[in-house]
């Protein structure tokens, strides 16, 4: 737990006014710490860390979209599905044995999702509030069902995903990992390292984007679309770009998820997955990357904890499994009712009361309250 906190430490600092170099340094330190933690963990924990990584990538994209551009997407489960299927189909063709196969598959997943992001983002940019929620929710239900339409997607039982064996990895990677962690790399730790490496890179990219001119435009659009438009910002375009970036993150996450689950099937991409992602970003605080990481940690570790808790409270195994969604739902409700800025936002405003103007809180803030 101490170690986990040390990973979160650097990211939890306000990202304001930090240049690219510092983002990279922070990410590098975080990744080294992550490697140390992963190397010292059991195979079981390694699978959890790998899961946390891909949830964090997806949540990072989603939190940027909702927190910075103000668009709510409940369709990110569907985008993860697209990424997962794209990566799986590539791995299936190439055999997926080598590292290069893995990266090609992930790049294809990102590219396909970028495309889908544009296609979905254009109409979505014209919607708001409950309408975009309903539309993206429908997307989340509809897209995975396409697997039943085309035989190449494997139907309900899905497609198996080949995963690189540790022995097939280049020697220098095996040596490097051994040097750092004093443990031989195997397929479980490999997936965890891969996940956290890509997570670090994704967060650096997203953090820079959100500090850039593009990010400022998104915030302007979120806070007041009319003024933003008057200031010459092309509303639709800004929203579509935000949606596309976030879709690419979801695609990468989907590709990683496929490799970890070793199966890509429609049953993985339920409404619950999309709602769960939403719970993660709302919990962490909309717009906050460290918040997304915390949320992803909850997603990866809570189910087992909550199920155990439920069982020790006398619930049957199947009942105890329902404790987790209840917790997610309560998180969504309580955060909205009590702390709309999420964990990170609330901590931050506790730490510095002065930063009343924190743009994070206003993502969910009561901008609509009128005083006249």
């Amino acid at each position: 737990m101490e170690r986990l906190r040390s990973i979160l430490g650097p990211l939890a600092r306000p990202i304001t006014s930090v240049p690219l170099a510092r983002h990279l340094v922070v990410a590098l330190i975080a990744f080294v710490v992550a490697m140390a933690v992963i190397g010292a963990s059991s195979q079981y924990l390694q699978t959890r860390y790998a899961e946390m990584a891909y949830f964090a990538i997806a949540a990072g994209g989603l939190t940027l979209l909702t927190g910075l551009s103000g668009q709510l997407s409940l369709g990110h489960g569907a985008l993860m599905a697209v990424g997962a299927y794209a990566a799986t189909l590539v791995l299936d063709r190439t055999g997926g044995e080598t590292l290069a196969d893995v990266f090609v598959a992930l790049l294809v997943a990102i590219a396909v999702c970028a495309l889908v992001g544009v296609v979905v983002g254009v109409p979505a940019a014209r919607l708001h509030g409950p309408y975009i929620a309903g539309a993206t929710l429908t997307l989340a239900v509809a897209v995975p069902r396409l697997a039943n339409q085309w035989h190449v997607l494997g139907g309900e039982q899905g497609l198996q995903v080949p995963v690189p064996r540790a022995a097939e990895l280049p020697a220098w990677i095996q040596d490097l990992v051994w040097f750092f962690t004093a443990v031989e790399i195997d397929q479980y730790s490999f997936l965890a390292y891969l996940g956290w490496l890509l997570l670090a890179l994704t967060f650096v990219a997203l953090a820079n984007l959100s500090r850039s001119r593009v990010g400022r435009r998104w915030r302007a659009v979120r806070d007041d679309d009319v003024s933003a438009e008057l200031a010459g910002i092309h509303l639709g375009r800004a929203r579509v770009v935000a949606f596309t970036v976030s879709a690419m993150a979801a695609g990468l996450a989907g590709g990683l998820m496929a490799m970890n689950v070793r199966l890509t099937a429609p049953g993985a991409f339920t409404i619950t997955l999309s709602l769960t992602l939403l719970a993660a970003v709302v919990l962490g605080g909309l717009g906050s990357l460290p918040g997304a990481l915390i949320g992803a940690g909850v997603l990866a570790f809570l189910p087992h904890f909550a199920t155990d808790l439920g069982e020790s409270a006398g619930l049957s195994a199947t009942q105890a499994a329902e404790v987790t969604p209840v917790v997610y739902g309560l998180v969504l409700m309580l955060v909205i009712l009590l702390a709309p800025a999420g964990i990170v936002g609330s901590l931050r405003s506790l730490v510095s009361r002065a930063s009343r103007t924190s743009s994070l809180a206003s993502a969910l803030g009561s901008t609509k309250e009128k005083t006249t």
């Binding site: 409940l74 014209r126 309408y131 429908t138 009942q319 409700m333 969910l364």
Partner: protein, 292 residues
């Protein structure tokens, strides 16, 4: 031809249930400008309450009324305790809140009643009606479904058009502040709106459950289909909701019957996007263009 007739009749029955559900969403939208994404879960809860009573050998129609009453109470409590704080706030808040409520109700029902699939009886036969030698694709329960939905709609029309209570509710929904100045207890009316909506949702739950297996997820498709039916009709217009429900029911029935069930959500998405992008105020809304 026979299959077309059967599919059409099946679509009408399904559409009637969507209509009832869309009507419930519409009632809530009109009163609080909130799309209640927890509506399906609320209806699922009330259906389970009815199922528990049925399994305790309570007569069907008594259980039906109990579901209605439970829906009424549940809707009132939820509006008063959970929704009130976000009324009039940023619209994302309400969306996220109702989605959270959806998950909580879902999980709690599963914990309380179990997640098994359980049979749910129908009050009348679910066997096709025969005319002479050929049977037609509608059952007494299907006819009952349409009749009950029609009665609910008629009841709502009477309430809103011809009673003082209905007038107060409409006024409170349209203009809360002015209504308060005229002495209308607006908070109470909004609570009542949610309560009524949840009761209508409970009816939809009972109708869809009859002669089928239920589990805590059985109403989930309504989260999207109910929403789409309501948007199709314009969200603001009760009549539009009903027509939207029927159109959606028929469309999905044809898709399922002639193309494949797995494409139903995709077709629904297509219908939704076309309506939102081409005719944003819905097919039947009299009001001026809305912002979607």
């Amino acid at each position: 031809m026979q299959q077309f007739l059967d599919t059409t009749l099946g679509g009408l029955v399904l559409g009637a249930v969507y209509a009832a559900f869309a009507l419930a969403l519409c009632l809530i939208w009109r009163s609080t400008r909130i799309v209640n994404f927890a509506q399906a879960a609320m209806a699922m809860v009330t259906t389970y309450i009815a199922l528990s009573l049925l399994n305790a050998d309570v007569p069907y129609w008594l259980a039906f009324l109990a579901a209605l009453a439970a829906g009424f109470g549940l809707g009132a409590v939820i509006e008063r305790v959970i929704i009130r704080p976000v009324e009039g706030k940023a619209e994302l808040n309400a969306v996220i809140l109702t989605l959270g409520l959806f998950m909580v109700l879902h999980g709690l029902t599963a914990i309380t009643f179990g997640v098994q699939h359980r049979g749910f009886p129908a009050p009348v036969s679910t066997n096709a009606i025969s005319v002479g030698d050929t049977s037609i694709g509608i059952t007494p329960f299907g006819i009952l479904t349409i009749v009950v939905v029609a009665l609910v709609m008629a009841g709502l029309v009477v309430l809103f058009r011809f009673t003082d209570l209905g007038l107060r509710m409409r006024a409170a929904a349209f203009n809360g502040e002015v209504s308060r100045l005229l002495g209308v207890r607006v908070g109470r009316m909004l609570t009542l709106g949610w309560a009524l909506a949840a009761a209508v949702g409970a009816v939809a739950g009972m109708l869809i459950a009859g002669g089928d297996l239920v589990n805590p997820a059985f109403m989930d498709p309504f989260v999207i289909y109910g929403f789409i039916a309501a948007v199709l009709g314009g969200l603001d217009s009760p009549l539009g909701s009903v027509i939207g429900g029927l159109i959606l029911g028929l469309s999905l029935s044809y898709v399922t019957g002639y193309v494949g069930e797995h494409l139903a959500p995709l077709v629904a998405l297509g219908i939704l996007m076309v309506v939102l992008l081409v005719r944003p105020s819905g097919l039947f809304s009299a009001a001026a263009a809305r912002r979607v």
